[in-house]
């Protein structure tokens, strides 16, 4: 059975757990919601006259809008896991509470209950999809959203069917307890989903737009809308969709009221039954017709389905009155909204820049959905006042649908215009979008661009087409492989291989012989991989005079290791490695990376080559083979700036197995600082706990430049791999150490005064001030290992700006965030009005020295530049009392300090 689902939905190894638990989660949430929906509507209709319904819509829109604003702000601060936990707990609590209160028959509670039920639907369903978006990456989402969506549809269908059946046996309010139980089960499914291997919600916020939510401003949103015509059209369509939704729902509710009067169970049964059929219709449309419609008629055609079908159904309803006619119109409206219209609207957002889309989509979807419903409610009040009743309403709906058709046409034009503009700028971000492109007009346009003369745009369009499911790539690739500009040819072979198209060998062979530099390598690679006789093809291309063809063939052989062993012989390698031409030696290094170094010592020799390109290829080969014998050579190259990038990449490729060796060098005082400073750069790319442990062991290194490099690496790891353990106690100790260092620097800096007459004294003061700033930077970097890095960085920027308001704001923030032991030390030393001398004494027992004592302390320090600078300052200021310390430094420090000491002693003599 699982195998069947795996095949139907293309579930890959390791994905089944999360796919099925996410489907179960949404199924249970929708199950609960579709019990709540008919029950809340029925209880309201049974108790009140139909003319109260518009006011309920207005209230839902108003309260929903206010709630959405506060929820967005709160959710931006919560983690997604916490938000789901608390939302579920609150929902279960409220359901039990409503079950109890509704039995008291308090009329106004029905308003509260209906508003709450509407919020429940919005929040829990949106959260469900947000969890799904973080459980799957964009590519997995394209394959698995079908299964997850199926869970949601089945849940909605089961919920409404269950309600229609059970209301015969239970009072409507009692069904709320069933909802509470379902929510508890849904939470269980959620925990199972996030406990799956490879799923991490750490750092994921409960607001869809993530970090953007924090920078949300009404002015920014208005600016986006005013400047983006495309967005304006989307908003108009959202508004009219929900305006019509309210009117059509009102017609159904009015018909139900006429039919069942005050019979709450009767209305619940009818509504449950109605939702059952509506969900079945939606399921059918979604599964069988929506993607066909999108493929056949594109965005424009899909967007037209809803207004045209509602318009026609409404005109029909003018002649067929009664509850079934109203239910039919409502079913057409709701099922086309959840299928065609949703697909069309998702596609409509697609060409917008990703940042703009992230920033505005959630806001537009929620705020304008509410606004549309509110306007709908007000329109109903107005129409009732004008004497337009449920019987005439279909005419109004049909008129609105006519306007909607115009808007849909406009939206399609705008969509095409935006796609064209963004494709020209290569800024069309369809790959990361969670829906696939199958709109025929877009596909045609992408094809034209792929065949066009501008290579960058053509490559871009080709990569987008390759991502489009169901698109027939071969004819396009064949024509591009034969006669496109060389970079496009290369891309065509790459795309063909990835898509499993192996029929372009003849075109590839022709391209190799044509010899166009940008295409040869990819063509030889493809021709080797897809030739009928790979051995013959590989041997043929390895003998080719064009080194690019040889390289391509080698790359192709890399995918068939046994063939590579046979064809890349030691004799062939030895001949290339010994050739005077660096291009050939480079090929030898490349081939060693493909074949392996068995039976040859050539790579060791190539890692000592004099030519940078040979060294680069040799590093890459060593990184592929991960043989520890090459480590000394790679570390030597790491210290050399010309080969550093290649050596860094190779060492990173070795992975965590060399973390210990790297740690030994990092801690070795005798190793050159230029090499030690590079080690953290390797470790930060190896995102494993061992890297963090090795770096933490050097967090207090005596060399500040090494210390700074270690901290930068730890900060990067914290951002890239927040799940790793950064040893909070250890980091806390180091923060306190840096705070002490800050106070010590202040203590020696203060006695130097503001004297600018002595240049060496001024230089010393500048040095100490700069050291103080670096200490503050390290302090904040350490704080970033314990607290949210983004927030700590923002606080650091405020402190660095040095304006009193900014510093005060940062201090206030830290006061609220830091744990007590850190707050006690960090906050006072950063406070703008703080008295540093008093604080230093109070916190660390540091006394402020006299100027001579301060300089004496510095001369005795182990920092050569600080010693040199202090000696020069002492000489310039005529501090004869320091002569013994200066003589001592002249004897014990290096040549450069010695020269400074000589000059100072001469001045003091």
């Amino acid at each position: 059975m699982t195998k069947y689902w795996r095949q139907v939905f293309d579930i890959r190894t390791g994905e089944a757990g999360r796919a099925f638990s996410m489907a179960a989660y949404l199924l249970l949430v929708l199950f609960a919601y579709y019990i709540l929906k008919p029950v809340s509507r029925a209880l309201f209709l049974a108790r009140f006259d139909i003319d109260r319904v518009p006011y309920l819509h207005i209230l839902i829109a108003l309260v929903g809008g206010i709630f959405a604003t506060y929820y967005s702000k709160a959710a931006a601060k919560w983690s997604l896991r916490a938000a789901v936990t608390w939302t579920t707990a609150a929902a279960i609590g409220c359901l039990i509470l409503f079950w109890w209160i509704l039995q008291m028959k308090i009329p106004w509670m029905l308003y509260v209950f209906n508003i709450w039920a509407s919020l429940f639907g919005v929040v829990t369903v949106a959260q469900g999809w947000l969890v799904a978006a973080n459980v799957f990456d964009a590519r997995a989402a394209k394959r698995l959203y079908g299964l997850v969506g199926l869970g949601a549809v089945v849940g909605a269908w089961a919920g409404s069917g269950f309600t229609a059946f059970m209301v015969k046996h239970l009072a409507p309010a009692t069904l709320l307890l069933v909802c509470a139980t379902l929510m508890l089960l849904a939470y269980g499914a959620f925990r199972i989903a996030i406990a799956q291997k490879g799923v991490s919600l750490a750092g994921v916020r409960a607001e869809a737009s993530g970090g953007e939510a924090e920078s949300f401003t009404a002015r920014g949103m208005v600016r986006d809308i005013v400047h983006t015509r495309h967005l304006q059209v989307i908003i108009l369509i959202v508004l009219i969709t929900f305006l019509v939704d309210v009117m059509v729902e009102y017609q159904l509710q009015a018909a139900a009221k006429i039919e069942y009067g005050d019979d709450a169970s009767g209305i619940t049964r009818f509504m449950g039954g109605y939702f059952l059929w509506q969900n079945l219709a939606t399921f059918f449309l979604q599964l069988f017709l929506t993607s066909v419609m999108v493929r056949a008629f594109g965005v424009g055609g899909t967007l037209l389905v809803m207004p045209v079908s509602i318009g026609l159904a409404s005109l029909g309803a003018l002649f067929l009155s009664g509850i079934y006619a109203a239910a039919l119109v409502r079913m057409v409206e709701a099922s086309s909204r959840y299928s065609f219209n949703r697909a069309g609207m998702e596609l409509l957002y697609l060409p917008l820049p990703t940042e703009l889309r992230n920033r505005t989509k959630a806001f537009v979807d929620i705020a304008f959905d509410r606004a549309g419903r509110g306007i709908g409610g007000m329109a109903l009040v107005g129409l009732t006042w004008l004497g337009v009743g449920p019987k005439q309403l279909p005419l109004v709906v049909a008129a609105l649908c006519a306007v909607w058709v115009v808007l849909a046409r406009l939206a399609h034009r705008e969509y095409a215009r935006t796609i064209r503009r963004r494709l020209e700028r290569r800024r069309l971000d369809l790959i990361d979008a969670r829906v696939a492109v199958s709109d025929p007009a877009t596909l045609r346009f992408l094809e034209e661009t792929a065949r066009g003369p501008a290579a960058p745009q053509a490559i871009y369009a080709l990569s987008l087409l390759a991502e489009s499911p169901g698109y027939e790539l071969e004819p396009l690739l064949r024509s591009l492989a034969a006669s496109a500009p060389p970079p496009v040819v290369a891309k065509a072979f790459e795309v063909a291989h990835r898509a499993g198209i192996g029929s372009l060998v003849r075109e590839a062979e022709q391209q190799v012989e044509r010899g166009e530099e940008a295409a040869v390598r990819a063509a030889a690679w493809y021709a080797t991989l897809h030739a009928e006789d790979r051995r013959a093809a590989g041997a043929r291309w390895l003998r080719h005079p064009n080194p690019l063809a040889v390289e391509g063939a080698l790359e192709g052989l890399g995918e068939t290791p046994e063939l590579a062993q046979d064809l890349i012989t030691v004799e062939w390698l030895t001949a290339l490695a010994g050739a005077p031409d660096p291009g050939k030696r480079r090929l030898a290094a490349f081939a060693l990376g493909i074949r392996g170094d068995q039976g040859t010592e050539l790579l060791r020799r190539l890692l000592e080559d004099s030519h940078p390109r040979v060294l680069e290829a040799a590093c890459a080969a060593a990184g592929k083979l991960k043989n520890r014998v090459y480590l000394p050579a790679l570390l030597t190259l790491l210290a050399n700036w010309r080969q550093r990038a290649a050596a860094l990449a190779a060492l990173t490729a070795y992975g965590v197995r060399i973390a210990g060796t790297l740690g030994d060098i990092l801690q070795d005082d005798t190793a050159p600082p230029s090499l030690r400073r590079q080690i953290p750069r390797v470790l930060r790319s190896i995102r494993e706990q061992r890297s963090v442990d090795v770096l933490l062991a050097s967090i207090g290194d005596r060399d500040v430049s090494v210390r700074a490099a270690v901290l930068r690496a730890l900060n990067r790891l914290r951002e890239d791999a927040p799940h790793l353990d950064f040893g909070p106690q250890f980091v806390t100790r180091q923060i306190l150490e840096e705070a002490r260092h800050f106070c010590q620097l202040h203590a020696v800096l203060a006695p130097l005064g503001k004297d600018d007459a002595h240049r060496a004294v001024r230089l010393l003061r500048r040095t100490l001030e700069e050291r103080t700033q670096r200490t503050v930077e390290r302090l904040f970097r350490l704080l970033g290992l314990r607290y949210p890095p983004q927030d700590i960085y923002a606080a650091y920027r405020s402190v660095v700006r040095q304006s009193p308001e900014d510093v005060a704001a940062a201090v206030e923030f830290l006061e609220g965030v830091l744990d007590r032991p850190l707050r006690r030390v960090v906050v006072p030393i950063l406070e703008p009005a703080a008295n540093p001398a008093e604080k230093a004494k109070e916190l660390f027992g540091i006394e402020y020295p006299s100027p001579a004592e301060a300089l004496r302390e510095l001369v005795r320090s182990k920092d050569p530049w600080l010693v040199a600078c202090t000696i020069a300052a002492a000489g310039e200021a005529g501090l004869k009392a320091l002569a013994p310390e200066i003589r001592e430094a002249q004897r014990s420090a290096g040549a450069e300090v010695g020269a400074v000491a000589r000059t100072a002693l001469a001045a003091l003599a």
């Binding site: 700036w641 010309r642 550093r644 230029s674 400073r677 240049r759 060496a760 230089l763 500048r766 040095t767 700069e770 050291r771 530049w865 040199a868 600078c869 000696i871 020069a872 450069e896 300090v897 020269a899 400074v900 000589r902 000059t903």
Partner: protein, 140 residues
Amino acid sequence: MAERNLVEKVIALEAVELLRSLSPDQLARVASIAQEVHFPPGKVIFEAGKDVDALYVVLDGSVAVSRGGEVLAHAQQNEVIGAWALFDDEPMQVTATAAEDVRVLKISRSDFYELLADNIEIAAGIFSTLVKRFRKLVEG
């Protein structure tokens, strides 16, 4: 005259506009690759049309900067000549000649690049100065 020590070199380099945003520690690293050179009056420091691979900071004396025999300017104490030679290997457009006894700090391009590669913050500081200068030119 004795050669300047490290601190004196740093004090001289502090006045160089190109290096203005560097910290004293960073300047000390630049100073460690700077070599003090003496030119007697009339000695050509670099010649128009020829490659130059170093930057010179005038410590003492005056350097005449000329094109086609015409003196365009005199570089005095703490002024830099050949700054662009650090970034560009095109031949110089002008000739620099010692107008009197001149002492300069010479920073060679290859040493400078090696220093930048190991001290990216120095490169960032120099970029920042260049960008400020460029912005000033653009914004008038």
